[in-house]
Symmetry: C2
Subunit: 115 residues, 2 copies
DNA sequence: CGCATAACTTACATTTGTGTAAGTACTTAA
DNA sequence: TTAAGTACTTACACAAATGTAAGTTATGCG
């Protein structure tokens, strides 16, 4: 859990309020969110499928990241009340608007990273 | 200093090698890099000027971030051998190619963040 | 000499992010 | 009655990022 107050947190809040770019980067950045979003751009995936295409992610982190993406309104979580359970993740309409953004980031990286 | 080996580090390396988007986000993301780059898009700034326009950043972090941006080839550091010393920071040619990328990120954030 | 200035360094502390391993809930099928 | 499958939780440990405060270097000026 995060601390309720710290210089670190206050700086983050001030920056994100004042700068759209920082807000965007917070929403889609981090170790695993780019990979998760990239997978979901291609279409809906079940929890177990996400786990399978991201073999090195731990379940704990996968769930944490999905929850944050959901909280920010980028990803939708659909539960099917079946046995065994089935949960699907997909980009929300807002998440869909990220597609060109992700494409720009991907293009720049592929064009300019070493090798 | 970073550890020489850890699951965390290995995951980062694998992801960045395989995904241009992750590489880009690593290069421009974090708490302060977006703000630093945003300032430099408008033109060259001295160290003391950067410190002034980013009032909450600590000197230690400012220097660390500038060094990383320099290492990734996005920012150029020019030293004037004067007394008192003068050091200017500006976007490199590679850094200039980031301008449209940063603009896209900024636009999306301004359009979609709450409030 | 002693102070001022700019641009850093250094040592240390704190906060945040990520990883490991094991356990849970639910229901159907054997 | 027990095992199997899916989607998680929980408790804990470790790694990385960020922040604080003080010190350093070099030189010209009074």
């Amino acid at each position: 859990m995060r601390k309720q107050s710290s210089t670190n947190l206050e700086n983050e809040i001030v920056i994100n309020q004042g700068c759209g770019m920082a807000y965007t980067l917070k929403a889609i950045g981090g170790r695993w969110k780019p990979s998760i979003l990239w997978q979901l751009v291609s279409g809906t995936l079940r929890y177990s499928q996400l786990k399978a295409v991201l073999p090195n992610i731990s379940e704990r982190i996968l769930v944490l990241q999905l929850r944050e993406l959901e909280k920010d309104g980028l990803v939708e979580r659909t539960v099917y009340r079946e046995v065994p359970p089935k949960v699907e993740y997909s980009l929300s309409p807002l998440g869909q608007t990220l597609k060109p953004v992700l494409q720009v980031l991907s293009n720049w990286g592929d064009a300019h990273r070493p090798l």
